[in-house]
């Protein structure tokens, strides 16, 4: 195998591992857990005998909102990190 073939194999392998195998599962599990914790806190204030329709619609809105918040925080963080990077260089 020549250098380029090895390099391409390394790239492919790293992307495959970080996207699919480990990171994705971790990220999804992490998001799931966070959403679950936060929306349970918000929407199931007094746990009853079964989940009410009000609780369900609250939970749906909450999940959507949490993901929106995630995206918003992510872009704010990236913007800030870029500025920091530009400032220190």
């Amino acid at each position: 195998m020549d250098s380029k073939a090895v390099k391409d194999a390394v790239f492919q392998q790293v992307v495959a591992e970080s996207n699919l195998a480990n990171a994705r599962v971790l990220i999804e599990a992490c998001v799931l857990q966070k959403i679950q914790e936060n929306c349970f806190e918000k929407c199931i204030t007094k746990p009853g005998g079964s989940i009410s329709s009000g609780e369900q619609s609250c939970a749906t809105a909450c999940m959507e909102k949490y993901m929106n918040a995630w995206n918003h925080v992510n872009s704010a963080y990236i913007t800030r990190a870029r500025q920091e990077g530009a400032g220190t260089q």
Binding site: V6, A9, S18, C30, C58, A61, Y77, R80
Partner: protein
């Protein structure tokens, strides 16, 4: 990620020339940066969600106040982060 058991073991890394080695290094640091940003975003979302979305959830969309609060929250968190680093450095010297 356990690279020790990955299929990379089968590759002849000796075959890499210097330019390709440098490219791999750059690529790896980008990947690492990406996952660090994601991890940091998780932490920040948790912190800022508590601060900026305190009441009952009425809609799945963020309103303007919440959006502003989240962006400010991230920036103030970073400010505090820098301040803390500086403070610790001062204590050390």
């Amino acid at each position: 990620m356990s690279l020790s058991q990955s299929p990379l073991d089968g590759l002849n890394l000796e075959a890499l020339n210097d330019q390709d080695k440098a490219e791999i290094r750059q690529f790896l640091s980008k990947q690492q940066q990406r996952s660090q940003i994601q991890a940091q975003t998780h932490q920040l979302t948790q912190v800022c969600w508590t601060k900026c979305v305190p009441g009952a959830v009425k809609s799945g969309k963020l309103d303007k106040t919440e959006e502003t609060c989240l962006a400010n929250c991230v920036n103030r968190f970073m400010d505090l982060n820098l301040l803390t680093v500086k403070h610790l450095q001062n204590m050390r010297s």
